[in-house]
């Protein structure tokens, strides 16, 4: 193993999405960007493989306004971060993202292990890792819940519907992890300070030999709407109502609804 590259997506947190009740559109105004939750486990997996193998570890991302992610990514352990930052990537689909990441990896020398996570919290298409492998001509091993270094080889465990599949890979590989592979520790103050001294490389499409046309998405999103929810959201214990009164009210209500 020479160099590990962990890919992460800089996504808007979904916790603060508001729904416009009239248009059913998603209002993302209050949502802050963050490193995709599952990619934080990908970064930590990279750190552990680096410790076990002694090789180099870099992180990379692509998208619009991704440069802001560099410090957070660096504080999670990589030696350097590459941020491809281009407004055209705001509408990227998995085809575009994987093409850009593949070109970035080719431009960074010696990468032979790529780590992605199962999916991102926004699109969750579960496509980018295996696509990247096919584009790079690397082996794809997806849904990985355990990764260990054994000499030149990686010993991986995949979590599939049928059970566990144990895989040994020598040579270039894209490992797509599932979130239970490890915990993603919150960076310490020391790590955050150290991150400031590490290199962060900002790239544009031209730097990796791509044109905006070559990464136009193949899926065109015409619109995003929130599904209708017609739940009443009745609080059974407003001020002055005790929990046991609320419980009784619920039991009566469910009996009236024919559920109990």
């Amino acid at each position: 193993m020479k160099k590990i590259a962990v890919c992460y997506k800089w996504v808007l947190s979904d916790a603060d999405i508001r729904i416009n009740e009239r248009t059913r559109e998603l209002d993302m105004e209050k949502c802050k960007p963050q490193i995709n939750e599952y990619d934080r486990m990908g970064l930590e997996t990279g750190v552990r493989l680096k410790e076990a193998s002694g090789c180099e570890l870099v992180a990379l991302t692509c998208g619009a306004a991704t440069e802001a992610s560099a410090k957070d990514a660096l504080s999670r352990g990589p030696d350097a971060v590459y941020c491809l930052d281009d407004p055209v990537m705001a509408v990227a689909d998995a085809t575009a993202t994987s093409k850009v990441l593949a070109a970035m990896i080719r431009s960074i020398s010696d990468v032979d292990v790529v780590i992605c996570s199962e999916g991102s919290s926004d699109q969750y298409a579960q496509q980018v890792g295996p696509r990247l492998a096919a584009l790079l001509g690397f082996t794809s091993v997806s849904y990985v819940s355990k990764a260990e270094v054994q000499g030149d080889a990686l010993l991986l465990e995949r979590k599939l519907e049928q059970g566990t599949e144990c895989v040994k890979v020598i040579g270039p590989v894209v490992v797509s992890i599932v979130p239970d592979i490890c915990e993603a520790p919150i960076p310490s103050v020391k790590q955050i300070l150290a991150a400031k001294k590490k290199p962060s490389i900002k790239l544009g499409l031209a730097d990796i030999g791509l044109s905006a046309d070559s990464v136009a998405p193949l899926l065109h999103v015409a619109g995003v709407k929130a599904p209708l929810s017609e739940r009443k959201a009745v609080r059974l214990n407003p001020d002055g109502v005790s929990i046991s009164e609320a419980a009784t009210a619920l039991a009566r209500q469910l009996a009236a609804d024919g559920i109990l």
């Binding site: 979904d14 998603l26 998995a94 085809t95 994987s98 199962e118 919290s121 926004d122 699109q123 969750y124 298409a125 579960q126 496509q127 980018v128 295996p130 696509r131 990247l132 096919a134 584009l135 082996t139 849904y143 599939l160 519907e161 049928q162 566990t164 599949e165 144990c166 895989v167 040994k168 890979v169 040579g171 590989v173 797509s176 979130p179 239970d180 998405p217 193949l218 899926l219 065109h220 619109g223 995003v224 709407k225 929130a226 599904p227 929810s229 739940r231 009443k232 959201a233 009745v234 609080r235 214990n237 046991s244 609320a246 419980a247 619920l250 039991a251 469910l254 009996a255 559920i259 109990l260």
Partner: protein, 310 residues
């Protein structure tokens, strides 16, 4: 008339994909690929495919190593649409095939349709908080399709077609062992009442209090993803959500679950949703029919008592 390929995880899914393909194009030509032996492929013919290929699980290689072979065939045959099971191996294959063919993929597609202007379909975004309407004009389009996307096609053994078994290309990955998962003991699907627990519980022994509540109303137990995957307090078949089980019980009672979109997606079709959460503003409360704000340790015993009294 365009060609449709179906790539299935098993024969049950094959029947669903065959029906799905027919619903898109009643007289279209279907080619089936199925994880299994030649008998499984013959089932593809009985379900309406004109040609069917068996992709048996290689002894020491990944099943996905059939991908380059399928890409080569796809380049020759130019299917308009490739429908694959929304199961892990098929998802991986869909992505690799998509990359090799420069074709987009609708993941877990809903309302797919073929139009003169291309293919349109819906996918979920932000864990189900939104539904994206997308279109593409790509020559070949892939989609992964849920096991319950439609009623299965009926097999007719008198149908005829060609059947063959493919051999995968050698790859660098060597499968050293396959450990089957423990037998499933759960059928959340058919349960009328389900109680789901989340990280509002602080330790595994807290489950006992909720199990007593579930027992009081004859409900199955379920949970959020971290409870199953991270804490491993419950088997993974019991976690609900976009990447877990999607259920439609009469009653879903969520205890100590924040109700993020990814979880809520799995119960959005429940008839009645009740939430118990100490945070009044928790999404699970705001998206429930009824909710009680409080510590479950106090609420659960009250509920057991109240349910016992009706």
């Amino acid at each position: 008339m365009s060609k449709i390929w179906i790539v299935a995880e098993n024969t049950a899914w094959l029947a669903v994909l065959a029906a799905y393909a027919k619903s898109l194009q009643p007289d279209g030509e279907i080619t089936a690929f199925v994880h299994g032996d030649e008998a499984a492929a013959r089932q593809g013919i009985a379900l309406g495919a004109t040609a069917a290929f068996a992709l048996p699980l290689p002894a020491d290689a990944l099943w996905e190593s059939y991908t380059p072979l399928l890409a080569e065939k796809a380049r020759a045959e130019q299917p308009a649409l490739i429908l694959l099971s929304a199961a892990k191996r098929c998802r991986d294959m869909a992505a690799q095939l998509g990359a090799l063919l420069d074709a987009p993929c609708f993941s877990d597609v809903k309302n797919l349709s073929l139009t003169p202007d291309g293919v349109s379909g819906e996918t979920l975004v932000y864990g189900g908080a939104g539904v994206a309407q997308a279109t593409t004009r790509a020559a070949t389009v892939l989609a992964t399709v849920a096991a319950k996307a439609c009623d299965p096609a009926l097999a007719d053994a008198s149908r005829s077609g060609t059947v063959a078994t493919l051999a995968p290309a050698p790859g660098a990955a060597q499968v050293t062992a396959r450990l089957p998962r423990e037998a499933r003991s759960v059928n959340l699907d058919g349960a009328a009442k389900v109680v789901g627990v989340g990280r509002g519980l602080s330790e595994q022994k807290d489950l006992a209090g909720i199990e007593a509540l579930a027992k009081a109303i004859g409900a199955e137990m379920a949970c959020s993803r971290p409870i199953a995957e991270f804490f491993k307090w419950m088997p993974e078949e019991r976690y609900i959500g976009i990447s877990g089980q999607q259920i439609k019980p009469q009653l879903y009672l969520a205890v100590g679950i924040s109700g993020q979109a990814q979880h809520y997606y799995g119960v959005r079709d429940a008839k009645i949703i009740v939430s118990v959460n100490k945070d009044a503003e928790a999404l699970m409360n705001l998206n429930a029919d009824y909710y009680i704000v409080g510590d479950w340790k106090e609420v659960a015993p009250s509920l057991i008592q109240a349910f016992g009294a009706v």
